[in-house]
Symmetry: C2
């Protein structure tokens, strides 16, 4: 057991260890999505996995590491969906559209992941705030990339002159807001919602016609 040495890389883990870690992560996601972060105790996660509580402590240094791995797993999954479709676009406006659409696609396709990550974000954001949480650390790069995309559009002359910081934050908030609404109403029409957002932010970003 040396998970403290490899907090994130899968390094030289045994087959059993990898399988167990994956299983525990999956069960943890479901437990958090259904019961909330506070109620998803190690005991509950172990119960769902059909294993003893100690196994989790054996494979993970603590609850923090488990949560960190969950975030990493979900982020990896989302990136895999989004990147290809964004790279296929040529214009900045097209990339922004792809960003919004693939994001909402992912929300619709992975409800449990979204529920889980929303609850994790909520719970960790609540704590005494001093240090950056894993959650923020994981998501800040995503916002940076979005800002880079916006700056690119401005340089290309496609976008008007706005604060890329504010625009990026607003777009991210809008998408996170969709995830939030999805928790209350799972019947939300994401295709239509995505269209509305695409138009909204197209109008907000594009250069006025001369």
């Amino acid at each position: 057991m040396r998970s403290e040495i490899h907090p994130s890389g899968q390094g030289d883990r045994s087959f059993v260890e990898n399988a167990r870690r994956a299983q525990i992560i999956d069960c943890a996601i479901d437990a958090i999505a259904e019961l909330g972060y506070a109620n998803a105790s190690l005991a509950e996660i172990a119960r769902r996995a059909g294993i003893s509580k100690g196994v989790i402590s054996y494979h993970f240094a603590g609850k923090r590491e488990l949560i960190g791995e969950i975030i990493g797993a979900i982020l990896k999954k989302a990136t895999a969906v989004m990147l290809p479709r964004m790279k296929a676009e040529r214009s900045a406006a097209g990339m922004l559209r792809a960003y919004i659409e693939t994001n909402l696609d992912f929300l619709g396709a992975n409800p449990n992941c979204i529920h889980a990550i929303m609850k994790i974000g909520a719970a960790t954001r609540d704590e005494a705030d001093q240090p950056k949480t894993d959650y923020e650390l994981a998501f800040q790069p995503a916002v940076r990339d979005l800002e880079k995309l916006l700056r690119f559009g401005q340089q290309q002359g496609e976008f008007r002159d706005f604060s890329t910081r504010v625009m990026a934050a607003t777009i991210r908030s809008a998408i996170d807001g969709v995830a939030f609404q999805l928790e209350a109403n799972s019947k939300l029409d994401l295709k239509a919602y995505a269209n509305e957002l695409v138009i909204l932010f197209d109008l907000a970003t594009r250069k006025a016609a001369k």
Copy 2:
């Protein structure tokens, strides 16, 4: 002690009771803002107020009721700031601008209230979700009002044809996002941020020039 009968109204409470409740609510806001919801125990709140733990149980039916009262108090405060300035506007676009500006003004002027309500929202959103939380119940009317404002603008012919639902949700998310950023960086220039948002949503809502 009949706080269960008057869960929210101030009814026929004694002078002492009102004073104590207000004091406890204030201390609770500070405690939650500084330590997070989870760490703001009744013991900690009592310590800050310089009273015994039991006093809180005496004046409030439980932690839930205390939290509910906190939300109500903050919401009341925010409404008092926003309503007058919105009513002073005639056009829908002007009202939207006032909505955004007064909202951000309030964020800047009441950091502790904002911290507290963010943490409460995070913590209660995290729980097993079945019933609507006080937090959601309190905020939904606010979004409704915003939607009403947007519909008004469409009827006036000021605004283009968009889903008021999506637009209202996006505006709210954008503002909530500011509160979130404010936690990480209290030096944020809110005046400039408000200007950016006003322009952004003006472009997003207004009817294209013919």
